[in-house]
């Protein structure tokens, strides 16, 4: 491998680490290849090498391939400590903001973060990450539009925890007509363009 190749590769490895670290769910190597502008085989090779390097260095985390994608997770060796931590950080109740966000996603899925934001009027980012981390919502698809926004929906765990067979068993809201601005927000949200006018208007509200 020439020096230049090594250098390019080092940057790509760093980018790979950065992406995998912030990912909420296992990342498909095809998407990684696309983001890093590298052949799929190269990216897969890098992931394997990274995974081995972490193991050799004896880190408390590992990079594993699960459900067709790569993700960081804690090393099985330190599970006892992680369990203690998880048990310690219990917060018993769901906030009303989180419940409202979950309700919007349950009834209107699939929908993007932008659409949730436009209905709730505030940035739902933190709340949605929590809901996702708890396994109540998940990324279900990507919007066809140029922005390719991630679309979210509820999970099987969500149904289970609410004691529902399917989404069809949710109490109906059909007889409830949402206000015009909500309908409009949803419709606008579906037409996702790079410079999203909704995003702009949210900024203005803030100003």
């Amino acid at each position: 491998m020439s020096d230049e190749e090594t250098e390019i590769s080092a940057d790509i490895v760093r980018a790979l680490e950065g992406i995998l670290l912030v990912a909420m769910e296992p990342v498909d190597p095809t998407l990684l290849a696309q983001l890093l502008e590298q052949p799929l085989a190269v990216v897969e090779g890098l992931c394997e090498r990274l995974s081995m390097a972490y193991a050799e260095a004896g880190h408390g985390f590992q990079l594993v391939k699960v459900a067709g994608g790569y993700r960081f997770q804690s090393h099985p060796d330190v599970s006892a400590y992680v369990e203690r931590f998880v048990l310690d950080s219990q917060h018993a109740r769901i906030s009303s903001a989180a419940l409202e966000t979950l309700a919007i996603i349950a009834y209107k899925q699939p929908l993007s973060r932008q659409q949730v934001a436009s209905i709730r009027g505030v940035d739902p980012d933190a709340v949605m990450r929590t809901l996702q981390a708890r396994g109540y919502i998940t990324e279900v698809s990507r919007d066809d539009g140029p922005g390719q926004a991630i679309l979210f929906g509820t999970t099987a765990m969500f149904l289970e925890r609410l004691g529902l067979d399917s989404l069809a068993s949710l109490p109906p809201i059909a007889d409830f007509v949402p206000p015009a601005e909500v309908v409009e927000a949803l419709e606008q949200g579906l037409r996702i363009v790079p410079s999203n006018p909704m995003g702009a208007s949210r900024n203005e509200v803030e100003g």
């Binding site: 769910e25 419940l99 396994g135 809201i173 206000p179």
Partner: protein, 259 residues
């Protein structure tokens, strides 16, 4: 001639005043109050919606400026009431202190902006524990029934109550420039020549007086009145020149100023 201010929308009267004094390096002494008022009106016209709060704050400051300006035109003779004089110095100091405070925090905001930008280059890991620990994770949905979820949805799509305009820090507004303008359009044609003192003799509220003053300036800008001030501290003579075609155009123009 309107004083052109080529900057983004101003956030408030302090913003504009700071800009006028510092960025544009304009001495209040040199630029007439009329120009400052015009600069402000230009900004107001650029606003999509009229903000009564900003206008009110501006009027209060405009009133102080009027007094400063008037006092400055007096060539050093202390024929002013001592109490009035002290009050004026006090107001000036207060205005200066507020401007300095405002400037300080504007500079802090600049540093905050840099910090936010720098911090924004990193993204936090928030994925949480994987499914191996799912059993241990607290069930946030405990006690949440489908009906509660339905209610939460209703709450979420409920139209939000409009932001209320809280007038806690100003006296109740009994006047607006638009109203004052309407009144003057009604009164002036029949009066012909009148002094500003006469136009405001029945008004005891300083804000209302300033509203009338701004309305007169607006009429002057529209070419509907002539203003004369024979001696430096004298009363302003207002002369109606607008004919009898009072109505749509003038009122239409000031629509933007209404709350």
């Amino acid at each position: 001639m309107a004083y052109e201010v080529n900057t983004p929308v101003f956030d408030g009267p302090f913003d504009l005043l700071l800009h006028l004094i510092l960025q544009e390096e304009v001495d209040i002494h040199e630029v007439s109050l009329l120009r400052i008022v015009e600069a402000y009106l230009v900004e107001v016209q650029r606003m999509q919606t009229f903000d009564i709060e900003i206008a009110t704050e501006f009027l209060l400051i405009a009133a102080t400026l009027v007094e400063l300006k008037t006092r400055r035109l007096l060539p050093g003779k202390a024929d002013m009431d001592l109490d009035e004089e002290l009050a004026l110095w006090e107001e000036r100091d207060l205005l200066l202190a507020r401007l300095l405070d405002c400037k300080t925090f504007k500079d802090v905001a600049g540093v905050f902006s840099e910090l936010v930008e720098k911090a924004g280059l990193s993204f936090a890991r928030m994925a949480g524990p994987d499914e191996r620990f799912a059993e241990l994770m607290p069930d946030l949905l405990e006690g949440v029934t489908p009906v509660r979820l339905q209610r939460a949805f209703m709450r979420a799509v409920q139209p939000k109550p409009p932001t209320t305009i809280d007038l806690y820090h100003v006296a109740p507004i009994r006047a607006s420039v638009a109203e004052a303008l309407m009144e003057l359009l009604d009164e002036l044609p029949s009066l012909g020549r009148v002094t500003f003192a006469q136009l405001t003799e029945a008004i005891h509220d300083r804000i209302a007086v300033v509203c009338r003053f701004l309305a007169i300036l607006e009429l002057y800008k529209q070419g509907r009145v002539d203003l004369e001030q024979s001696d430096k501290f004298g009363d302003i003579q207002v002369l109606w020149t607008g004919g009898n075609d009072v109505g749509f155009e003038a009122v239409f123009n000031i629509d933007d100023y209404e709350g």
